[in-house]
Symmetry: C2
Subunit: 153 residues, 2 copies
DNA sequence: TTTAAATTGTTTAAATTTAAACTAAATATA
DNA sequence: TATATTTAGTTTAAATTTAAACAATTTAAA
């Protein structure tokens, strides 16, 4: 922790936290991305497969909200997954504005084959923190993420 | 916290932590990016200005390491900052492979004008956690980031 | 010394991402 | 009903980012 006050105690602490949050995320993200690419999927493709694999059929809007990406981007990711036969789109008859997305049989196989190994990789990576530390960290991050997201600034 | 074991306690905990880390980072990052764009700089441009403003003259390699971006990308960011007259490049005579980058007078003014308001914004954003929580979080994130980065996987 | 290897930074092409304009469908309002 | 607004998703153009090939310089090894 820095001991010199550059901009005042409160600001210095927040900046230091933000730097460490960025660094920790980026480091994990880059290792995770390397691991994901081995499966032949891009990171956003993997994220969609994972989301559908765990939560079942979702609308495109729900997917973009879950992953905090823009709609145009999601369209492209889904197009590519559709071309590979991993997902399918289905227009809702009750509300024809909405398109539901789900895994095909091939997509389910891909999910089953790729997710657990990647989960183990992440677990191995994060094992530099013990169980208690991981729980504490997760709780603080949850509070940070949830509160800021719900806050309209 | 999830109570159902999907992949075993250890893996579930790590996955849950990774999701929360991503979410917290992304949420803060998107708010921070919005704030930075008001200054007329892109996020990576701002990061370079900040780095040079705080650390003084750095080589291009040092900048890419600090920001965990690829070299090609840094070249473009520096080109654009140079066009705007905010930074300057200087080839080292002792080692002509190395190019040192520093802020111009205009760049220093930009740094002084933009950094503190942004720092205050970040501080306000992170104030959803109290001082103790911020310190705990920063320490855990530091441990996570440093250890994984030094670990060769 | 001279060649080979490593380091530093740039260029290029391709992939990714965003923002804004757009289409289509549903809902609200006059 | 008819028009306007909102919502859901797509298209497009531009910006960003990466990875790989490249050039220049330095260092190491034969």
């Amino acid at each position: 922790m820095k001991t010199t006050k550059k901009y005042g105690k409160k600001i210095d602490l927040a900046l230091s936290l933000w730097v460490k949050l960025s660094r920790a995320f980026t480091v994990v993200q880059q290792k995770a991305a390397e691991d994901i690419r081995k499966s032949g999927l891009t990171v956003p493709q993997f994220a969609v497969i994972e989301c559908l694999g765990h939560l079942g059929e979702l609308s495109i809007g729900e997917l973009t909200k879950k992953q905090l990406v823009t709609g145009g981007n999601m369209t492209l990711v889904l197009d590519n997954l559709e071309k590979e036969g991993l997902i399918k789109r289905r227009r809702l008859q009750e509300n024809r504005k909405i398109i539901k997305v789900s895994l095909t049989e091939k997509g389910k196989q891909k999910f089953l084959k790729t997710f657990l190994p990647h989960a183990k990789f992440i677990s191995m990576l994060l094992s530099v923190l013990n169980e208690t530390e991981q729980k504490t960290l997760a709780n603080l991050l949850k509070k940070l993420g949830k509160t800021i997201q719900n806050k309209n600034i």
